[in-house]
């Protein structure tokens, strides 16, 4: 069931793969990997990392709310049937929020790694998942910030991702700040916030403002600038991300995400629902 049947461009698909690979490479063996809800990109990256250089990582899976060693194949909302029976520990959210998160974030071990997806990001790497427009009468009410207010104010290092690098996402001023950014040039450190998009990787620079540190292959500075709503800094040591290796792509396409669910995150809402219907019909045995 090829993605070419949707209006999703092969170039964008390639960029998504590049994002997953870049995320996976940021993971160190032994990290504590926090999965989000319906966040296929980071989950694909976690599984890829576990398959390759980071087999000792533990995942915290909200699909089942479990601690999980090992890997699994992404599913359309059925992950709990893979996680629950194989989990080492079952948790509730008081245990997570009053024990596990503070112990790891503030206690310092193991390293907490999580990729969060915000609706807006400002130049200091602060984020918004609450509303577009005025809070009291929003133009668009967003689902909510979940644990981002808690994690972003505790973390020493914080990862965001966005599969659609646009001026709507990268804004000079947030409509609401629900995720803390770099705390300022004195309090924070370089790379406090790292943002992965489909075009590039940005990280907090010496002043605290985001600067582009890596561009994905076949992306230009102009394309990044014209899709960013604030003036961008560029790292002196700007690099191009190495593309996925053949082995990495094979793992991704064969073991981790054969259905290409990671691309769902890059579609707009209408196209995503159409694609979901297609995938579900396909799973049910119909022709795609």
């Amino acid at each position: 069931m090829a993605w070419t049947e949707t209006n999703f461009s092969p170039r964008h698909a390639q960029q998504i793969d590049q994002m997953v690979i870049a995320m996976a490479r940021l993971i160190q063996d032994g990290d504590f990997l926090a999965e989000g809800i319906g966040t296929f990109l980071p989950t694909a990256a976690y599984m890829l990392a576990k398959h390759t250089h980071a087999p000792q990582c533990t995942s915290l899976c909200p699909n089942g709310n479990t601690l999980m060693p090992g890997t699994r194949t992404l599913t359309l909302g059925h992950d709990e049937f893979a996680t629950i029976p194989n989990a080492s520990v079952w948790l509730d959210y008081v245990q997570i929020n009053l024990m596990l998160m503070p112990t790891i974030f503030l206690g310092g071990s193991p390293r907490w790694t999580e990729f969060m997806r915000p609706a807006q990001i400002d130049p200091m790497g602060a984020s918004n998942n609450v509303c577009i427009g005025d809070y009291a009468r929003p133009v668009v009410r967003l689902p909510g910030a979940a644990g981002i207010p808690d994690a972003s104010t505790a973390a020493k290092r914080f990862y965001y991702y966005t599969p659609r690098h646009t001026k709507q996402v990268f804004v000079e001023k947030l409509d609401f700040c629900s995720g803390a950014g770099h705390p300022g040039d004195k309090a924070g450190r370089p790379e406090h916030v790292v943002v992965l998009s489909n075009l590039c990787i940005m990280a907090s620079g010496p002043s605290g403002r985001l600067q582009v540190t890596h561009m994905h292959p076949d992306v230009t500075r102009e394309e990044i600038e014209s899709n960013t709503g604030f003036a961008l800094d560029w790292a002196a040591s700007l690099q191009t991300n190495p593309p996925p290796s053949k082995d990495e792509l094979a793992l991704l396409n064969e073991l981790v995400d054969p259905d290409g669910l990671r691309y769902l995150e890059a579609l707009n809402s209408g196209a995503r629902r159409d694609r979901l219907r297609q995938l579900l019909r396909h799973k049910a045995g119909d022709t795609p």
Binding site: I37, N65, G77, D92, V94, N97, G144, A154
Partner: protein, 269 residues
Amino acid sequence: MDKRTDMQTAIALVQDGDRVALGGMTLYRRPVAAALALAARPKRDLEVVTFTGGIETDLLIGAGCVSTLRSCYTGLEIVGFAPHYTQAAHNGSITLVEETEYTLSYALQAASMRVPFLPMLGSLARTDMLQVRPDLKRFKCPITAEDLIAVPSLALDVAIIHVTAADSAGNCNMQGQLALDPYLPTVAKLTIVTAEQIVDTEELMAMRGGIQIPGMFVSHVVPAKDGSLPTSCFPTNKLDLSGILDYADSCKSPEAWQQWLTVATEAYQ
């Protein structure tokens, strides 16, 4: 003591204006049948408390039952925004209490401990959260003098939880995502459990995870096979994502929405 009753009898005990917590998380083990029963009466002016809201919360908003919603996320995961929630927020027709994972967990833990608040590190002030939550009060630590935030205790009128299995005394087994469910019955005046199946206590104890909610905190047990559909209930039912898509599509017009509500409500009776 046999606490079994039917859905109508149990739901009739919920009062207009009650603060009602809904168990489960986003699209997993949600009390959908109970939410439809609340909508059918209909109950009005509810304050819904849910760690993360999904279809059960959105349908209650769509049916006009909700005046206030406390959650840190309400949406349909990969299917997208929760339509009625999004619309009601835009219209200003419901009050949203902006929670984070920590604030809601702290508030329920404080209620469980019967203390008026729990202290949270002051760093949350680096976001705009405190501007929309004036009840999260900044204060000086009486021991270290550092800036802290007092998260007020949150007691409940009603907790409604769908569980994998229960016995007639109200002991409950839940598998997988426990969300905040084990704490809800300890802070609620009334706890209604809807259960995928009713089993003997011994069978319950032998299930994976055993008993997570002791029966002494449960007021009523409602047999409700498939009572979480289209959301999942491990290990009995998988998430029916087509059902969630149908729900989202139905919200595009008032007629389709009324039809969805009628069909769904009838399906549960």
